[in-house]
């Protein structure tokens, strides 16, 4: 639910990184925070447990400058990936304008990806939203693990599992190394802005 302030000409947009636990959602935000440190004038907020897992969410505000005379403020959030935290996951999705689904490309995580995407769909339905209308992109994370000989799912298998009916844009990525992290972000921002433009600008 983007908010357009017609007085100060500011649009606030909410983008949520979703996906199974230990998939790299927080790592995506940490990379973005390091990479664009000069342009981000506040601290990244994280609500974590002792075990360094996301308990509630991470939050990173990000200014991308002017579009059609409006100052666009992107608010990046992650959800906790662990199954037991669904109540908090649903809260973070409230008012979402765009989603990055961070799938874990490791073969052993195949089922977890599918379950997490189903969970995303259920939670979006509770807000009367769905993946057919909401801007979203897929990121197949951890491709760097191939170098260490860890079995990874081929992209066509991931596509078949997660993206067969949607044909959303997808990016093989390594959040740890930064590969395609910015490309994923740019894509979801441009899709989300385009969708808001249709309504307002």
């Amino acid at each position: 639910m983007a908010f357009v302030n017609l007085k100060s000409k500011v649009i606030q947009v909410k983008i949520v990184y979703y996906g199974p636990g230990r998939g790299g959602k927080t790592t995506n935000l940490e990379y973005i925070y390091q990479k664009f440190r000069q342009r981000i004038n506040s601290e990244m907020v994280t609500v974590k447990t002792h075990g360094d897992r996301t308990l509630f969410f991470d939050f990173l505000p990000f200014d991308i400058g002017l579009i059609n005379g409006y100052n666009i403020k992107i608010q990046l959030y992650t959800v906790p990936g662990q199954v037991k935290y669904n109540a908090t996951r649903r809260l973070v999705l409230r008012g979402v304008d765009g989603v990055v689904f961070v799938a874990d490309a490791m073969t052993v995580r195949r089922e977890k990806n599918i379950q997490s995407l189903e969970n995303l769909q259920e939670n979006l339905t509770s807000y009367k939203k769905g993946l057919n209308t909401l801007p979203w992109v897929l990121q197949y994370n951890k491709i760097d693990l191939r170098e260490q000989g860890i079995p990874l799912l081929p992209v066509d298998v991931l596509e078949g599992d997660l993206n067969r009916e949607f044909h959303a844009p997808h990016f093989p990525a390594s959040a740890v190394k930064g590969t395609n992290v910015v490309a994923t972000l740019k894509k979801i921002i441009s899709m989300t802005i385009a969708s808001i433009k249709k309504e307002f600008l």
Binding site: K73, G95, F200
Partner: protein, 136 residues
């Protein structure tokens, strides 16, 4: 779904918040939606906070407490108050979608603050509810 407020509506909201709250000694007040967006914020010029992070955490906090209310059989806790040594935060729901947050020091009593907040909320409700029904 997106929504917008125009200059006239925002001027009116700011006027209410300034007259009822800032002029009565509140340090900082902001109106947010439950997605964590800031609709407007005012302060008395003494301190600058990281308002975007505050809004995101406040919306999450309020959502979490509302979920707790449902578990124990309450429909909601419509107001929340956190007490600090020097600074205190008060949350008051305006409607299903909007929340008013005030930050104030120990020089204002909680009772007085609650009175002033509830006066503002009544006025804000009229502006905000017409906005949400227009976008429903």
């Amino acid at each position: 779904m997106s929504y917008a407020l125009d200059q006239k509506q925002l001027d009116r909201i700011e006027e209410i918040l300034k007259t009822d709250l800032i002029d009565n000694g509140v340090r900082c007040v902001f109106l947010i939606d439950m997605a964590g967006n800031i609709i407007t914020n005012l302060d008395n010029g003494e301190k600058q906070h990281d308002i975007y992070s505050l809004a995101a955490l406040a919306a999450g906090n309020f959502g979490a407490v509302s979920a707790m209310a449902k578990i124990i059989g309450e429909s909601e806790f419509s107001l929340l108050f956190h007490k600090g040594k020097k600074e205190n935060i008060h949350f008051n729901k305006i409607s299903a979608e909007f929340l008013l947050i005030t930050i104030f020091g120990n020089d204002i009593s909680l009772g007085f603050l609650r009175l002033k907040v509830s006066e503002s909320v009544e006025q804000l409700k009229r502006i905000m509810e017409s906005l949400m029904s227009a976008h429903a």
